[in-house]
């Protein structure tokens, strides 16, 4: 059941001019949040920006002992710029948790899964890693970015999943393999590895390639989609994605986590 509450800024950690983590008091949203779900944050008191902005809950953690929600944000404009400049203690209207989480209920200690992150798409996979670790499900992380600074939160991923389970790819080779993260996935699939499910979040081109890969490999998968959102809970009908059965589905309520086979990638 989503909650609309005012949460205070506990801390902001800047990784580089373009990326930061925003920690808010967990409120009653924290305990309810499942990996893959998101929240709508209002940035600023005025009308700039006017609409709330959607952010995946990247972690449910603690800041100096205080229960906290972590959002990992890439500053791309008005709202993401403003949210990074808020001083500690500032109250922010937050609506959440929202959307369909990653399907994990059926996973057991015997299972092995794959996590594929592209750029800021790491966010929902971080909380997923925490849960998988807690439940003893083993997971391989494939995380790609433009360069090393683009690949965030590596320490946390490696703590949750084990360093040997985390592989990286960068366009310039400054970290891990030079090339696309999807190449790492194909390579692994060519090997012996068999996954029960593949979880992914990233830019559209990555989704397209990955959708083809998992279809070919007949691999069960869940993608955390993005879209421009006004409400976040299914009433504006603004966030839709074309479905393979010819409809338009609201990413905020039928997603954001969907099986790639449900999306008509040719119309996206």
């Amino acid at each position: 059941m989503p909650v609309n509450e005012s949460l205070r800024v506990l801390r902001t950690v800047h990784y580089d001019p373009a990326h930061y983590s925003l920690f808010l008091s967990a409120g009653s949203i924290g305990p309810q949040t499942r990996p893959g779900q998101f929240a709508m944050l209002q940035a600023g008191e005025g009308f700039r920006p006017y609409l709330r902005r959607a952010f995946s809950v990247a972690d449910v953690t603690k800041v100096a002992g205080v229960p906290a929600l972590e959002f990992v944000v890439k500053a791309v404009g008005l709202g993401t710029g403003l949210l990074g400049r808020l001083s500690e203690g500032t109250p922010i209207p937050v609506l959440g948790p929202l959307g369909v989480p990653f399907p994990t209920d059926d996973l057991t200690r015997e299972d092995r899964v794959a996590l594929v992150a592209g750029g800021i798409g790491l966010a929902p996979l971080l909380l997923l890693s925490r849960e998988l670790a807690a439940r003893g499900v083993s997971a391989d992380l494939f995380y790609g970015g433009r360069n090393e600074t683009d690949v965030l939160k590596r320490a946390d991923f490696e703590r949750f999943l084990g360093p040997h389970r985390c592989r990286y790819a960068t366009d310039d080779g400054s970290l891990g393999r030079k090339g696309l993260v999807t190449d790492l996935v194909t390579q692994a699939l060519d090997g012996a590895v068999r996954w029960k499910r593949l979880f992914a979040c990233g830019p559209l081109p990555m989704f397209r390639t990955l959708a083809a890969i998992v279809e070919k490999a007949a691999l069960d998968a869940s993608f955390a989609l993005e879209s421009e959102m006004a409400c976040g809970f299914g009433v504006c009908l603004g966030c839709v994605a074309p479905t393979s059965d010819g409809r338009f589905a609201t990413v905020c309520t039928e997603g954001p986590c969907v099986p790639p086979s449900a999306v008509d990638w040719s119309r996206v």
Partner: protein, 314 residues
């Protein structure tokens, strides 16, 4: 001080003047986590058509200064699914339901209205004749008094329920379309729908909205909406009006009432804050009490204009 918030719009009696605007409140049920539906004056549901409608391809929305643009394409589950799957629960929750309807042709409008018939669980029917830039329908009906009159006339004879006609603001003189609707049998007028706008992604040189143009809503349009409510009130003093456009606070509600509205509909604000509609009911009662207003309906049409000098502006 006890404040009487109840209002009457002709045969439509509401417990308070705070309604929610079509397309911004889903089918109402999506808001049960945030708002006790029975506390609202009314809810106007997403525009219903004869058959389910998938709407426009994305992108459908973008942000604007103090507002947003949308071109949803009237996606909806269709009138039959609404009556079967949504209305019973809305009724159980004590919601006062306004059925917002549309069609591509007169026949479709009439058919939707006939499906609703005289269903007592629907408090009123709201004709959306003001979807701007529609390839069919809209412009013809919304911006053309003759076509509008003909449509409203046919719908009028198809239902006994209070008939609301929602007018387009994209016209030279809204009082002309208002008169046409009322002469043809409209009981109540809703104004305004969205202003047609265009916003461009200058990097891709494509419109931010897939449909090219979109409807501008939010605080940006409030002065235009208040003006049109005032104009229609002047032209048709006896016709009840729902004021719509950029309402976010109780002060905005009072502004619309003073301009001539009998009730209001809250739209885009529901996206920014899903709890706003219920809060406006309380805030409005508080405002009235603080200002010695015993009956909220006493505010309607009380604008004190100054004598207009023989001057122009700019």
């Amino acid at each position: 001080m006890a404040v009487d918030l109840s209002v009457r719009l002709g045969r439509l009696a509401l417990k308070n003047p705070i309604a929610t605007a079509s397309g911004t409140f889903g089918y109402g049920l999506e808001f049960t986590p945030f708002v006790p539906l029975r506390t609202l004056g009314a809810i106007s549901v997403k525009g219903l058509s004869l058959r389910p409608c998938f709407g426009n391809p994305p992108p459908r929305i973008c942000e604007a200064d103090a507002g947003m643009l949308n071109a949803i394409g009237l996606q909806n589950i269709g009138v039959d699914a609404f009556l079967a799957e949504k209305l019973p629960e809305l009724h159980r929750l004590g919601a006062t339901v306004i059925a917002n309807v549309w069609g591509d042709t007169e026949d479709e409008y009439v058919a939707v209205v006939e499906r609703i018939g005289a269903d007592r669980r629907v408090a009123a029917i709201e004709l959306n004749v003001s979807c701007p830039n529609v390839v069919k329908g809209g412009l013809i009906f919304g911006n053309n008094p003759q076509a509008l009159g003909a449509l409203v006339g046919r719908v009028r004879s198809a239902t006994k329920l209070p008939l609301i006609v929602k007018l387009s603001p994209n016209v030279t003189d809204v009082s002309v379309t208002a008169k046409a609707a009322v002469d043809a049998g409209a009981d109540i007028l809703s104004l305004i729908n969205t202003l047609v706008g265009l916003s461009i992604d200058i990097e891709t040189r494509q419109p931010k909205i897939g449909f090219t143009t979109g409807g501008l809503s939010g605080p940006a349009i409030r002065p235009v909406a208040v003006r049109m409510v005032w104009e229609v009130r002047k032209a048709l003093p006896k016709v009840p009006i729902f004021g719509i456009g950029g309402i976010e606070t109780a002060e905005h509600v009072v502004e619309f009432l003073i301009a001539g509205a009998d009730a209001v509909q809250v739209g885009t604000a529901n996206f920014r804050d899903p709890t706003v509609s219920a809060r406006l009911v309380d805030d409005l009662a508080r405002w009235c009490a603080a200002h010695g207003v015993r009956r909220v309906s006493d505010l309607t049409g009380t604008l004190k204009t100054r004598p207009r000098p023989e001057l122009r502006f700019g």
